[in-house]
Each structure stands twice: as C-alpha cells, then as structure tokens.
C-alpha cells in the first residue's frame, strides 16, 4: 500500500468518527481538509491567474495596459485600513458595473425568456402522452405561480389553485430531496469502495 492510500484511508475513517459524535480526531481531519484546500486554491490561483494572466504578460512581454487591472486589484487592499478604505470603491464599482452589465441580459434570457418560451407550447400537438405531459406542465406553472401571488387573499378559486400549487412544489422538493439522498449515498459508497478495495484490499 502506498503512503497516499494509507493517509487517505486513515483520514476517511477519522471523518467517519463524527457519526458517533464530535471529537478531536474528526476536528483534526476537518482542519487538515480546510487548510489543504485553501493552500491548494491559493497556489493554483497564483500560478494560473496572477502569473499567467498578469505578471508574465506585463513584465516579460511588456503588455503595459495590464497596469490598469494591476492597480485596480491593488486598490482593493485599501479596505484593510480605515483611512485608505475609499480606494477600494473604484475597483468595486468596476466589478459591480461590468458584472451586472454582463449578467443581467444573460440571466434574463436563459432563466426567464427561454423558460417561458419552452413552456408556451401547443397543448395538443404530439402523442397522447406528450399532450398529457404538456397539460400537467401548464397546470403546474399556473397553480405554482398563483401560490406566489400575495396581493389577494387565497380563497375560492385562487385558494384552490394556490393549494394545488403547493402540491406541485412538494413534488419538486421531494424529487430534489430524493436525488440529494442518492448523491450523498453515492459519495458514501465511493468511500466504502475505496476502503474495501484500496485500503483494506478485501475486494478486487
């Protein structure tokens, strides 16, 4: 067994001890995970971003316009001191302005307009099953939207619709929860497979 597998096996078991209760062995393994993760992200960000996209082009190839993002980035550190805090407002303004400008049309298009477009389809255009499916989608959209309509008391037809909407919401939450359980089980099974195959070598 190689050293890496031995360490991975011990750390996996250390994390599993939390299932009994919180303990120093679990906390040591958790702290190690956090420390290693942050260190890894810092190194990757330094080499793949600051060196590749800023320092190498600026100082080796003389790409001088990059002085602007370098200065803006440096101004962000002004936040660490009260007297220089105002400096960080400029890069923040650039970040928020450009970020919102890029994000708003893209999100409006992908998350709203295209979803509406995909929902508004002919009711009876395909096979019988496809038609039933379309009607269920239509009922789900209308009743769920009515649940979030708060300008009128939910009584009568609106009450019935919003109540039906809650059932659609519960179906969604149930499905999502089921998938999440499946996902977590997969992670557990993956670690058990590692322990049995690589660490303990009980299976091939």
């Amino acid at each position: 067994m190689d050293f890496g597998t031995l360490i991975a096996g011990i750390l996996t078991l250390a994390i599993f001890t939390f299932l009994y209760r919180d303990n120093p062995i679990y906390r040591a393994a958790e702290s190690l995970l956090i420390g290693v993760s942050i260190g890894y992200v810092l190194v990757i960000t330094w080499t793949n971003t600051l060196m590749d996209l800023l320092f190498h082009p600026l100082f080796r190839r003389g790409d001088w316009p990059l002085v602007i993002p370098l200065l803006l980035g440096a101004m962000m550190f002004g936040r660490f001191y009260r007297r220089t805090g105002w400096l960080s407002r400029f890069p923040m303004a650039v970040l928020i302005g450009s970020g919102a400008g890029v994000a708003i049309p893209a999100m409006l298009d992908a998350r709203t307009l295209r979803q509406i477009s995909a929902t508004v389809t002919p009711l009876f255009a395909g096979s019988a099953w496809a038609d039933v499916s379309t009607i269920i989608v239509l009922a789900g959209v209308i009743t769920t939207l009515s649940y979030f309509y708060f300008s009128r008391e939910h009584r009568g037809a609106l009450g019935f619709s919003s109540k039906t909407g809650t059932y659609f919401l519960m179906l969604f939450f149930g499905t999502t929860f089921g998938y999440t359980v499946m996902s977590r089980m997969s992670t557990f099974i993956g670690r058990v497979e590692f322990l049995l195959t690589d660490f303990l070598r009980l299976t091939g």
Partner: protein, 268 residues
C-alpha cells in the same frame, strides 16, 4: 459509550453497503432516454473533433463525479475525439488533469496531440466569455506550463467556433453559466455529466433545449458504462446503491409506523 437510535441507523447502513460491495454483482440496467441521448451525441462527433471538457466540481464529490467523468472520457477517447480540459473551480484542476491523463493512457492517447489540460481560471463568467473571444488569451499556457501556440492539438483552435461542444462535469450550478454565457452568447452546444443532487436544477434547461444532453448521478454513470460496454465503478456500485435506498425506504416506513403508533397510544 452511549449508543443512540441514529447510531444504529448509521451502523445498519454501513453493514448493508459493505455486504453489497463484498457480494459484488451488477444489476441489469435499462439506460434512460437521457443517457442514450448523450451517448448518441458523443457517438455522432466525427473523429478529430475538438470538445471542451470542463471539470466544474470540488474534490468532495469525486466518488460520484469520478465514474461519470471516466465514462465520458472513455467514450470520447475511444471515438478519437480530441479533448481540451479546463476547470472553473480550483479544486477540479488536479482531479481533471489526473482523470484525463489516466483515461487517456488506457487508449494510448498522447498529451498535446489527443488531449490537453489548460487548467483553472477564476471568475467563471469572465473565463467563459473570454474563451468565446480567444482561448489562447485566456490560457496563454496549459496546466503543465507549455505555451498555447506550442501545443500541436490546439493549432487552429481559436475560440468556441472551433470547438464542437462543451461537456461540463459538475457537482454544483456552474453548468448554468456555460448555458447562460457559452450557449446563449456564442451558440456552443452544452452537455453535462452532473451529480444526482443537481439533476432537478438542470432538468428545465434540458427541457427548454438550452442543454443538449445530461447524465446524472452514479446511476447515470452505470447506464453510460453499459452503453459503451466498459465496466467501471458506476456499475460496480449499483447493487450497494440499490440496497442502501431500500434500507432508507424501510427506515422511513418504520419511522412512520412508530410515529403513528405513538400518536395513537397518546390519544388513548
């Protein structure tokens, strides 16, 4: 040492999973329409096509993401598809490179000629949009420090117009950005292999045609393995997955029986 009921539930789960893993065996699976669609899409790519694979996940989801990624990589390499690996999450960087390198070796694929790994770039929106203009400016060097222009496979790959599609391997919502910026703005075909927990998030995108194909969870990995005729850890874990789910269902029923009985007793 005090043993509580939740400890018994955990021990029971560990016992059924370990027994299932030791027994082995692969249940027969009928691939879902989603898995078949993804398989048909990858199979339809001409040998030599360039596909970008984005490792948009963290290390913690590797037990689920690993089998999915390997199933896709095996299919792509076996079809002679050339792969450009990137990562929008720093933690996916080392894992992505390792998975591509290991799987590429199985098919005698050569780094720089059949596949390349460009590495990580922060600010995913900026990275996706920047690659739409120029991949070489976004990644002047690959993960190993080779200059973009010196990599033979990347000759002629300028931006998304030279890429057949993007396959995002994700455990979170990063694939959404590929659709919002890559697909909507540059028209690139986006497909995804995702953790089961994200399936319901991406279903509306799949239904609206913003995502071309999706395979989800360990079950999806097992189905894809059966479609490409290669055994992998997805199929190996299916028996354990099945008994673990049955165990959870039994616990839910048991919990409800105990609850209703105690309520009934309380009324008396």
């Amino acid at each position: 040492m005090k043993i509580e009921s939740r400890h018994l539930a955990f021990i029971g789960l560990a016992v059924v999973v370990v027994i299932a893993m030791l027994v082995g065996g692969r249940p027969d699976l009928t691939p879902s329409a989603d898995s078949v669609r993804m398989h048909e899409y990858i199979a339809s790519l001409a040998p030599g096509s360039v596909v970008m694979v984005s490792f948009d996940h963290e290390a913690s989801s590797l037990p689920e993401i690993g089998p999915l990624a390997k199933a896709f990589l095996r299919h792509a390499f076996s079809r002679g598809v050339k792969l450009v690996g990137v990562s929008l999450l720093a933690e996916g960087t080392g894992i992505g490179y390792r998975l591509m390198e290991e799987t590429g070796r199985e098919y005698d694929c050569e780094y720089g000629k059949d596949f390349v790994f460009l590495g990580f770039k922060p600010q995913w929106v900026a990275a996706i949009v920047a690659m739409g203009e120029s991949i070489s400016k976004t990644y002047p060097e690959d993960y190993l420090g080779n200059t973009y222009q010196d990599i033979p496979m990347l000759a002629g790959v300028v931006n998304y117009s030279d890429v057949a599609g993007v396959v995002s391997i994700a455990d979170g919502s990063l694939t959404t950005h590929w659709m919002e910026y890559g697909h909507a703005r540059y028209g690139i075909t986006v497909s995804a292999f995702v953790a089961a927990a994200m399936v319901t998030t991406y279903d509306p995108y799949l239904a609206s045609g913003q995502m071309h194909a999706m395979v989800g969870g360990l079950r999806g990995a097992a189905e894809y393995e059966s479609l490409i005729g290669v055994g992998g850890s997805g199929g190996r874990a299916m028996l354990a997955q099945t008994v673990a789910h049955l165990y959870v269902i039994v616990l839910i029923i048991l919990g409800n029986v105990v609850y209703f009985r105690s309520r009934h007793t309380g009324r008396k």
